[in-house]
């Protein structure tokens, strides 16, 4: 059986956003095993992806060590690099789909396969980008009116249409820590995931805003419990948040920061009705686990490119006014970031299925949908012109794919 490899060496959010293309590839080529290469810390998540046969780790730290150890000959370095590769027993891949437009992804693709699709497909040193990669580069630079979702652009990059069904990550059979188990599997309640962390400091939501949201949820949504989501790096912020909360709300909050593995987190998110956060990996993960996501998008985050994938998710897009987000740590209240500016109550109303104004002074509310060209967001449920132009974009970019190359890929 031939094997193909999909390479995604970026962070959690990008890996989760790659689930649609993995699903689409598996559906388009069911006869071919599809493997995944992702950063080592994310392997346990990749192993839950239903459409992936094997997951291979990419250990950046080990590469860095081999590359920077003092007084090692190129000869010795090469031996170590080869030992690294043979240690993971990479098979021969007939094809590598590379989603990363950076040299590491491109080089990894060429090291592991003779045929590469995606950035680097014209050669490891050839800067010419395939049409879809060039499109992604352009919208990253000058966003314009793009409405093609990143997950769907990944599909275009790999020469498949978006998946016909929205991918879903089932809860794996995994033991939860006792106190989390009690909360998740206890009496029926509304479980809300609160995503504290963000890879970039400028996407962090101030603790004061979370404090207000938790209080509002506790007051307005009966039997609601809030599960704080984050990694080791958010432990301190989570403790600070608990410290700030009035005692009466504390029994409604469970701090899961740094206490769950990815399989455990997927298990918990499967139990969440809602997940709230900025444009971060756990928000997307929640969406893929069946929770409805409410994103607060500010800084460089744009709903049309990276809104939670699927149907029925909400995104509050910050459109006007001063820059938001906390440039400092979680504990400080940044100028212009007081909770009065954040759609806290509106978010709680959405969770209560109440009608809210789609526009505040600074925020616009967007709702997710999907069709055969993938996911898209609208205001007031009405697709605008730009949404309709996605078909043209797909047709134009797909025409640019070299037909000989396409034939080789399909073989």
């Amino acid at each position: 059986m031939s094997r193909a490899l999909l390479i995604q060496l970026a962070r959690l959010g990008d890996l989760v956003q790659s689930l649609p293309v993995l699903t689409a590839l598996q559906s388009a080529h069911p006869e071919r095993a599809l493997d995944l290469l992702c950063p080592s810390p994310l392997v346990s998540l990749g192993e839950i992806f239903p459409c992936v046969d094997r997951v291979y780790p990419w250990n950046g730290e080990q590469w860095h060590e081999v590359a920077t150890t003092k007084m090692m000959d190129a000869d010795q370095r090469l031996v170590q690099a080869k030992r690294y590769l043979s240690g993971y027993a990479f098979p021969t891949f007939s094809l590598a789909y590379n989603l990363n437009n950076h040299p590491r992804g491109i080089l990894a693709a060429h090291v592991l396969s003779g045929l590469v699709v995606g950035p680097g497909e014209h050669g490891p040193l050839n800067p010419t980008l395939p049409a879809w990669a060039d499109y992604l580069r352009q919208i990253a630079h000058d966003r314009g009116s793009n409405r093609v979702h990143l997950s769907d652009a990944f599909c275009g990059l790999c020469q498949v249409l978006p998946p016909s069904d929205i991918p879903y990550l089932k809860a794996p059979e995994v033991q939860l820590p006792l106190e989390l188990e009690r909360m998740v599997n206890g009496q029926p309640s509304t479980l809300i995931g609160i995503v504290l962390g963000a890879g970039d400091a400028d996407r962090r939501i101030p603790l004061s805003v979370w404090q207000d949201l938790i209080a509002a949820c506790a007051e307005h949504i009966p039997q609601s419990y809030l599960f704080l989501i984050g990694g080791e790096g958010e432990r301190e912020a989570a403790l600070a948040l608990e410290h700030r909360l009035p005692g009466k709300y504390l029994n409604r909050v469970v701090n899961g920061c740094g206490r769950t593995s990815f399989p455990q987190l997927v298990g918990i998110l499967n139990r969440c009705q809602w997940v709230v956060g900025s444009d971060t990996g756990p928000l997307h993960l929640g969406a893929m686990c069946g929770a409805r996501a409410i994103g607060w998008y500010f800084s460089r985050a744009r709903v049309h490119e990276t809104g939670p994938y699927g149907v029925g998710h909400y995104v509050w897009q910050y459109e006007r006014g001063q820059p938001l987000g906390s440039p400092d740590d979680h504990g400080t209240r940044a100028a212009g970031s007081s909770s009065a500016h954040w759609p806290v109550l509106e978010t709680v109303h959405l969770m209560g299925e109440e009608k809210v104004n789609a526009t505040t002074d600074e925020w616009d509310l967007w709702i997710s949908h999907r069709d055969e060209w993938g996911a898209f967001y609208t205001r007031d449920d009405k697709p605008d012109e730009a949404v309709l132009r996605r078909k043209d974009t797909w047709e134009t970019l797909s025409r640019l794919v070299n037909q000989d190359f396409r034939l080789e890929v399909s073989r």
Binding site: K70, D73, A74, D75, L78, P103, G123, P124, L125
Partner: protein
Amino acid sequence: MHVLKQNIGILRHQDQVLAAQILQVPGGTLSIQPAKSGMPTALVNSRYLHSAYDPVREAARWAEERLKDCQPGETIVVLGVGLLYHVQALREMLPHDHVIMVVVADLSEFADCVSVRSLEGWGERVMWLTGSMTDMAARVTQNAKRVRILSYEPAATVYHDAYEHFRLQLRDHLAQQLSGALHIMVVGPIYGGSLPIARYVVNALEGLGHRVSWVDHSPHYAGYQSLATIRDHRLRLTVQQRLSDTLGVISLAHVAEDPPDLVLALSQAPLTMAVLEQMRRKKVLTAMWFVENFRHLTYWQQMVTGYDFWFVMQQAACLDTFRKAGAKQVSYLPLAAEPAIHQPLTLTPQEQQEFGADVSFLGAGYWNRRHILPSLVGHGWTFKLWGNEWDNPGMLETVLQREGARIDTPTSVKIFNATSVNINVHSYTGDGFDPEGDGVNPRTFELAGCGAFQVVDARTLLPALFDETMMAVIDGPDKLLSTVQTYLHEPARRMSMAASSRKRVLEAHTYAHRMKTLLGAVGMASPDRLGAILQGERHAGSLVARSMKSPELIPMLKQFPQTDRVELVDVARNIRKKGPEAKLNREELLILMMDEYRQEKRDFL
């Protein structure tokens, strides 16, 4: 007697002369006793050289610990003999082809040893070095490229001075063999006396063929000086310290951008302990050339453990003090002259008019100088005083030039050249000459480099650098006047002595000489790192010879001239030059991959 006979037989196979000498020396240096384990142990002056309980076990532990750092291809040179348990342990742990040499400082000690300890089974594969330290150092460098010195301290201490001499000889021999080029980052101060020295160091290293990155902080001097307008003393000091800390981080950023093999800092370089610690974490070796009197400027105490190597301009007490304070490696390295700057000049009549004098002194107004120099005023000769920090000069006011302005290097060279008798009194905060005066100031070398005659105060380290045929050395302020008078009337003698001093500078006291010595010491202390590079092991030719396991590398390495130093970045650069249409093999792709990760700077600052 049987053991000795057997050992003599073994030694005779290796070195007949040595075997014969052993039979002739009287012995009796070691006092031999049985240890608790039943094996013999030894004492010198009532101090045990080996364990009184189990010398074999003790030696095995010692060897195990030392061998952690040893690399294949190195020659182990052992200092310290005793009963050789440590050498036997090394021999038994190392592969057969790994060369071990033992420096025998005293044949009598060795004779005592071979009378009680059998060499059979291991001693045949040890090279015994005897003779003068110079000869032994030469033999080591003839037979070995990469040398790792292991000192068995309990036994080596007995012959401390002899082994120290051996180390210096070996360092100098190795320094003569350096062929590889390092990348050295020189970090200078914001201002002060070590700033020109930093420049000379940069020139010298470049002249020796090394790649030098100079982190020059002197452009920040104006900003530093502007802080003087802050009136509150403590506030001003705090802000000055913060600026200095920032300059340290800037230095670190330069290291991150282009990591050097060695960071060489000059006194007052703004590198904090935090910055040095980060460099250590990133495996960058650091050295400091402390060109100050360690008794007068004591900030080194806070930094002593931060640098991997210290070089100081004083000996004995200074070296001991640094070692006791925690310095890992400290060596004596006197100052020098820069021949391109400190040289004889032909002055214009105007220059001769301005700078010329029978007698001159150039330097800052230290306490002792204020008391000594007035004795030169009011005689039948012209006397000019140059330099700063001469406020309230008293009777020196009439001879003070340029109202006590700071004199730059080009001007100082003109003054030296235009003066018949240059006075060189080392600074001291007490009266008279410094009774502990050891280190020799830069002016001594600079005057000599200019071919200028000088009268200098006696320093304990001066005779090893210059002798009395090269300059007039006086041992007390009371000798100053008479010495000046004598030499003013003997121009031919002055010229002859000055020419000799310049000759000595060019032979042995330039910054290039110092940098060779410094790198010899650094290379000797890190044979697997800088030592290997300095011995040319990173040359393309050498790398080709060692690319056994990845023959695919050989064509890539052969693109470089044989004696060019080649690193991963160079190979990667050549691969990238192949252009966009190139098809790369697996090894080329892996090299590019490693080069990508090499460039990562994520946690440097």
